[in-house]
Amino acid sequence: MTFTVGPRITQQIMKTGSMSSSVHRLWIGSTGLLTRPAIDYYNGDVDKETRKYSAAKTAVKVAITVFNGILTRIVAEKLGIWMVKKGIIQPLSKNLDAVAFANGVATVTSFLATVLTTFTLDIPLINSGLNFTLDKLFPGQRK
């Protein structure tokens, strides 16, 4: 049995084939903002107070990492495309689609930038963000 899709959906699916790294992260992050705090909130292994605290903590953490991750990727993708346009990075093979190559470089530069910011920015941002938000949400409950 064959399922067929119409021309508009076909176009959308083909467009998704070159989905940028930032959009990919946006999809994962936005669904994570809904599901991950909910999973912590309904965690049956801990008491109600801990669940609330844990869900808030997860929501804050996911929001920070998603925001930071998407921003880093967008900037790095633009940098990658700029490097191709300026001829700083050139294709190794002949007859390559220039736009597809630039998008490929953008994926690679966004990956490299994200690895760098994971080690340099993520942990301090998460720690300070968590301290600030959770002190506001649960005053006096944290040491």
Binding site: I13, I28, R36, D45, D97, T107
Partner: protein, 228 residues
């Protein structure tokens, strides 16, 4: 086409060319590597933390590595199997663009179009490569969509559930060890000699953690895991 490019530029160009053909695969691998880096950064932070007692530090690092390792394995399996399933849907002619003529909606014709079979291109397609580009692009798109769905399920549903279970297991074990150590300590000189020493207490799982315990300096660290 530049032979003068430095090595790092050549590596980036090579990866970018791989991305043109295998975008879903590169997205999957980069996501996995970023996760692994996130885990390494987290573990490194604990290892460098001088305020943590060595015993607690070792416990937290083990816990993080266990949860992280299992989560990474699950994420790879789910993302990879979804990506492959997406490709198979097109290869087996289960999901195709509606514009494709009915006589080509079978696995054999799809395989020939995707491989740009010379005979098929000459006879059936009459030299028109548009269908090849369309079907190759469609297959690539389906694999990216399927791989992203797999990643979302792994990242946002399976991993938090497993992390919660692992954290709860480690905490229960730690709590049971602490209680056992407290009860098996030597009797005080004031204890009458004829009284038997109490039996070790075992904690049945799952244990409902009392709220104050979560606020102690050693317990909440698992909450900072990159997999949560």
């Amino acid at each position: 086409m530049s032979a003068q490019q430095s090595l790092w530029k050549q590596k980036i160009a090579k990866l970018a060319e791989y991305d043109i053909q295998h975008h879903a695969s590169l997205l999957k691998w980069t996501t996995l590597i970023i996760w692994a880096c996130s885990l390494a950064a987290e573990v490194g932070t604990f290892a460098a933390n001088k305020k943590l007692p060595p015993k607690e530090k070792s416990f937290i690092i083990k816990q993080e590595l266990t949860a992280g390792g299992i989560s990474l394995a699950i994420m790879y399996l789910l993302a990879d199997s979804f990506e492959e399933a997406g490709k198979r849907l097109v290869d087996k002619a289960r999901l195709l663009p509606g514009e494709l003529p009915p006589q080509w909606r079978n696995p054999d014709a799809v395989r020939k179009i995707l491989k740009a079979d010379a005979d098929f291109l000459k006879t059936a397609l009459k030299g028109n490569r548009a269908w090849i580009e369309k079907l190759v692009g469609f297959r690539k798109g389906v694999s990216v969509v399927a791989g992203t769905i797999g990643t979302i399920i792994a990242f946002n549903i399976t991993t938090p559930l497993i992390s919660n279970k692992i954290a709860s297991y480690f905490q229960n074990r730690s709590l049971a060890q602490k209680v056992n150590m407290a009860t098996s300590s030597p009797p005080s000189p004031n204890t009458p000699a004829h009284l038997p020493s109490p039996a070790p207490i075992t904690i049945p799982a799952p244990v409902r953690m009392p709220a104050p315990l979560q606020a102690t300096p050693t317990m909440p660290y698992y909450r900072y895991s990159p997999f949560r």
